[in-house]
């Protein structure tokens, strides 16, 4: 059990800088999602299944989704502005 806890803490320590170090927002969303899953696993191993359930759905699904949708929206806005600029 102790070994499992150390392994999962190590995994969190590896994936967290991964999120920070990925510079492209799109790849950052993917790393963030993986980090969310690893965090959920950590909560589960430390015997907090309630928190783990919230973390899976919020950290691994909803948060990346919201970021993805925002990115799409921003890109569309940029495209539209570019077109308007050309017309003028």
């Amino acid at each position: 059990m102790r070994l499992l806890q150390w392994v999962i803490l190590l995994l969190v320590a590896i994936t967290a800088p991964g999120v920070v170090l990925s510079r492209d927002p799109k790849s950052q969303v993917v790393t963030l999602s993986v980090y969310g899953l690893i965090c959920a696993l950590m909560f589960f191993i430390f015997q907090a299944p309630d928190v783990a359930l919230s973390q899976i759905t919020i950290g691994a699904v909803m948060l990346p989704l919201m970021i993805m949708l925002t990115l799409t929206k921003m890109r569309r806005q940029d495209l539209r502005r570019g077109q308007k600029g050309q017309k003028k």
Partner: protein, 251 residues
Amino acid sequence: MSSRARTLFFLVSAAGLAALFAWGFHDLPPMGQYRGPYGNVVSKIAVYERHATDVVNAINYDYRAFDTLGEEFILFASVMGVLLLFRPSGQGDNHDNERSQLEDALPVSDTLRVGMQAMAGTMVVFGVYIATHGQLTPGGGFQGGVILATVPLIVYLSGNVKTLDKILSSPVTKLAESGGAGGYAVIGIAAMLVGAHFLTNFLPLGKTGDLFSSGTIEVISITVGLEVTGGFLVLMKTYLREIIEEQLEGE
């Protein structure tokens, strides 16, 4: 600031942070050694007092139900905030046009479509299970609600945009959001009507381990589930409508 000064600044602050961390950590109790009295007390009396086997939800929806009410309204208010920020600009109201263009824009492989459609039903059952068994097993209204809110996403992934639109535009979604948030407060006020304090667990507790047990914990869990599902669906609708609009204007 030059690059060298910046590095120096970083090193000094990082050393300070490390020192503070070491200072803060050196006196912590070892892992698994809990010193406070409340956790142990609550774990002992929750099953006896509230007939709820998931102590976390007995705390969330009963012992500190008032705080959870506040948290629920934080979610409600933030959804309202997004709605306010993303309110429609007043143009582009031709829905049929939007739908056909959206379907063209989504090429979906057969594998994905079949897999996701098979998953959608399972997710509905799982979400309802998690939301209604909050007092018995880990989970509860919040977790179940978010799981239920991912179902339209799965429908979206399967390329079935019309169904997604139907789910998101249905009045049930808005009703679930406001009804869930209001229902929580109504349960609290109902307790006052029978002469107890706000949000007292006034319903019969039932038999420990039954689906309908632990009084208001179960009911509040379901209202929270409704609120969370509705809230996330309203959010999703706001985001996706914007994207559809942008798509239309871009073409």
